[in-house]
Each structure stands twice: as structure tokens, then as C-alpha cells.
């Protein structure tokens, strides 16, 4: 078996170990596996491809340059990577004032740029997205709304309270209740 085949067969955590040793080929594999979901998340949040590309680039460079900080016992590589992308996107949303020009028609935008289902991996990701989205949409509307505004919109609880004209305590309560219901609902969805 060639060395290239060997590295392709490694689990994420093993690839990450090679990345921590400064192996660019392992980092490229990490990007190949998680670059798509990372870009998709950034794009879902900021709503334009150039900003999503900047966020993804900054996030992956930060992963490469801070690779020593990864700790396998803190969760999966995918969760770690997406967490970094999410924080970068929130920073961009809160500092770059892109709220106004995005998300007005998030679904329409996604339709325009949806990836073609060319690989089994992409088809599986799309199916997984449908399942998680269905669980999210099953929540009471007011809970779905505060969760989406916070997570994908990058709005703070006080901004959401202003927007929805409700007390901050209610917003926080709905976030917590919604997450709890989502967690229970997802228990039947592959984690």
C-alpha cells in the first residue's frame, strides 16, 4: 500500500496528529475533509462567497498555526474545526456590518450555490442536513428563531430581545429550552 493511500485511510484524529507535527500533506487532507462543511457554515452565516472564503481561509490558517492547541479529548476534529469557523464568522458579522446585506433571502442564496450531489459524501451530508434541519424546525417557532438568530446570525441575546421585542430572560430561556428539545430529538439522529 502506498504512503499516500496510508494517509488517506487515517482517522481524523490520526491526521491531526500528523498536522501537529507540521505535515502539510496531512493538513491538505484535513482541508479536503472539512473545508466544504467549513465554507458552507461560513457562507450560511455571512451570505456572500468572498467573505465566506476569507473566513474559511483565516480559520484554516489559524488551525495550521495553532495546531498544537488541538486536544483530542475535547471532541471531534470536525466539531473543533467548525467551532473555529463559527467564531470567525461571528467576529466578521459583529465587526463588518454584513448583517444588512445578507440573510434577507438565505434560502434563495443557497439554492443558487448548492453543490451538485456528485459524490456519495456530499449526498450523505445533504441528507444529514435535512435530518438536523427537520429536528430544528420541529421546535416551537419562537425557540427555532432565537437559536437561528444567535447561532447563524451572530446576534447577541440583547439584540435578539430588541428585535423580537421580548425580555432578555425570555430569550435566554427559549435558547436553553430549544437546545434541550433539539438534543432529545437528535438522540434518534446519527450524531
Amino acid at each position: 500500500m502506498s504512503r499516500e493511500t496510508d494517509i488517506q485511510n487515517l482517522a481524523d484524529e490520526e491526521v491531526m496528529h500528523l498536522v501537529q507535527e507540521g505535515n502539510p500533506r496531512a493538513f491538505e487532507l484535513l482541508y479536503d475533509r472539512h473545508g466544504g462543511p467549513a465554507f458552507s457554515l461560513a457562507y450560511r452565516m455571512v451570505g456572500d462567497r468572498v467573505t465566506a472564503e476569507d473566513i474559511s481561509q483565516e480559520a484554516f490558517l489559524s488551525i495550521w498555526r495553532s495546531r498544537a492547541r488541538y486536544q483530542a479529548d475535547r471532541g471531534s476534529v470536525r466539531t473543533w474545526v467548525l467551532g473555529i469557523v463559527h467564531h470567525r464568522a461571528i467576529d466578521a458579522l459583529r465587526h463588518n456590518l454584513v448583517h444588512e446585506k445578507r440573510r434577507s433571502s438565505a434560502e434563495g442564496i443557497e439554492e443558487r450555490f448548492e453543490a451538485r450531489e456528485t459524490t456519495p459524501g456530499e449526498a450523505a451530508r445533504r441528507e444529514e442536513a435535512r435530518s438536523v434541519r427537520a429536528a430544528l424546525e420541529d421546535l416551537p417557532d419562537e425557540q427555532t428563531r432565537v437559536i437561528e438568530l444567535a447561532y447563524f446570525g451572530g446576534f447577541s441575546h440583547s439584540q435578539i430581545a430588541d428585535m423580537l421585542e421580548m425580555p432578555i430572560g425570555t430569550v435566554k430561556g427559549r435558547m436553553r429550552l430549544g437546545l434541550d428539545k433539539l438534543r432529545r430529538s437528535l438522540a434518534g439522529v446519527a450524531a
Binding site: 491538505e28 465554507f39 458552507s40
Partner: protein, 255 residues
């Protein structure tokens, strides 16, 4: 920990997981977490729901240029690290040889008075360091692991960016582009970015966008082939970048 403080923080668990707290609230909540196993358990219980949220997003293909640009920077970083590792090994080897030379010398100095012996050893050490430093520079140039790789210092418009400096590391194979590193550039307003251009045949070709940290440091990749290009330039543009430079470059690297 008081019950009141716990109740005050307990309702923040969901907002914290969703990054909906302010920075001050986040710090206060994290401090509370350190001493509250109840909130820590609640956080662990709800976390899978938040971890699932990015999986609700339909896949969107990133542009191929993202990987190209990213890997150009990563490969340049790795080459630089390998070069530094070799230099470090070389330095250790040099120090070891110097210690051996001094040790051998000290054997021949035993008949000298202590002050004279120390002075003689110092002269040997100094000569070794000067010779070693020259050799080190040459080795670093020759064994950087990337034959033909070089670094070019940028010229800076001191009237507009007085504290700035920069350099451009050209890959050994110029078809692989290079990496621009800057220091002391001012941070820009939120609606502006620095844009990197490659000038070829009088035409400016956009390469990448970057911003700098509070310390003014930043880096950006030039992914295009450098063949027949004569300069790498940086301008300040509106967020999202421009199709052509809107101002005279604040930083310029002549290739």
C-alpha cells in the same frame, strides 16, 4: 459560590453555547463554570445540540482558489520551519564543536596563568563564532530545502504607513508563488481590507485579501506563477476587494 450567583448564571448556559453573550458576560460565565459543576454538567448535556447545528447547513462548494491560496501559505510556512530546524541543528552542532575546541585548547592552556588562559580561550571562541555565523548564513541560504527560494524586502510608502515593513518569500519554484509578510501596518476600518496584487505586463492581478492584527502583523499568499511578473503590491480597498487597485500601493515588492 452563592445560590443567587448560580441562579443568575444558570440561565446563561444556552446563550453561552450559542455565542450570544457579550464578551464580559462570557468571561463571567466561564469564571462561574470553574466553580459550578451543576452548570458544567448542563453545558455538557446541551452541547451536542449546538454541535449539530452546523450539520443542518446544506453543502456549498468552496472555490478551488481557497485551497490553492491556503496551501501556498502552509507549504511556505513548512519550508520556513524546515529551514529554521536545519539552522537550529547547525547552531547546536557549531556550539558543540566550539565547546570541544575550547576543551582541547584548555588542555594546552594548563601551563598558562588563569587570566591568560581565559583570554586565549575567548579569542578562539570569538573567532569560532564569527566564522560560524558566516557559515551559518551560507548554510541557511544553501540548505533551506528549497533551492532558489529567496526573500525580497518590500519598499513602503512611509507617508501613509510610516511604521510598516514587509518581505516576500519567493518559493524555490516560482510557479508556486510566495508569501507576503507584513509588520506594523495600521488596522483598517471594518469596511476596508488590504489587497495583494501581482503586476505582470503592466496589469495588476488580484491575489488575496488580508487584514492585520492589533500588532500590525499579517500574511497573505500569492498563488500565481511569478514568471514574468515584476512586482507584488498591496493597496487598501473596500471589504470584498476591488477589481483593480484604487490607489497607489502602500507596499511594493520588486521581483
Amino acid at each position: 459560590m452563592s445560590v443567587e450567583r448560580h441562579h443568575a448564571q444558570e440561565e446563561n448556559v444556552g446563550a453561552y453555547l450559542l455565542s450570544a453573550l457579550t464578551e464580559i458576560e462570557t468571561r463571567a460565565f466561564e469564571k462561574h463554570l470553574e466553580e459550578c459543576p451543576v452548570c458544567q454538567d448542563e453545558l455538557d448535556r446541551l452541547r451536542p445540540a449546538v454541535d449539530a447545528l452546523p450539520r443542518s447547513v446544506d453543502p456549498v462548494s468552496p472555490p478551488a482558489s481557497l485551497k490553492t491560496s491556503l496551501m501556498a501559505t502552509v507549504n511556505a510556512d513548512a519550508r520556513e520551519a524546515r529551514g529554521e530546524a536545519r539552522s537550529e541543528a547547525r547552531r547546536h552542532g557549531m556550539a558543540r564543536r566550539l565547546r570541544e575546541r575550547i576543551s582541547r585548547l584548555s588542555g594546552g592552556l594548563t601551563d598558562m596563568r588563569p587570566g591568560v588562559a581565559w583570554m586565549a580561550a575567548s579569542i578562539v571562541l570569538l573567532a569560532g563564532m564569527v566564522g560560524g555565523a558566516t557559515g551559518l548564513y551560507a548554510i541557511s541560504e544553501l540548505t533551506s530545502g528549497d533551492k532558489g527560494a529567496r526573500t525580497v524586502t518590500a519598499s513602503v510608502d512611509k507617508t501613509r504607513v510610516p511604521q510598516a515593513s514587509g518581505s516576500f518569500a519567493v518559493a524555490g519554484n516560482s510557479a508556486q508563488g510566495g508569501v507576503l509578510r507584513v509588520h506594523g501596518l495600521p488596522t483598517l476600518e471594518n469596511d476596508s481590507v488590504y489587497q495583494v496584487w501581482l503586476r505582470r505586463d503592466g496589469e495588476a492581478i488580484s491575489q488575496s485579501l488580508f487584514s492585520v492584527g492589533e500588532d500590525g502583523d499579517g500574511a497573505a499568499a500569492v498563488a500565481d506563477d511569478l514568471k514574468s511578473a515584476d512586482a507584488v503590491m498591496v493597496t487598501r480597498e473596500r471589504a470584498g476587494g476591488a477589481k483593480a487597485p484604487s490607489e497607489k500601493p502602500v507596499l511594493n515588492v520588486r521581483l
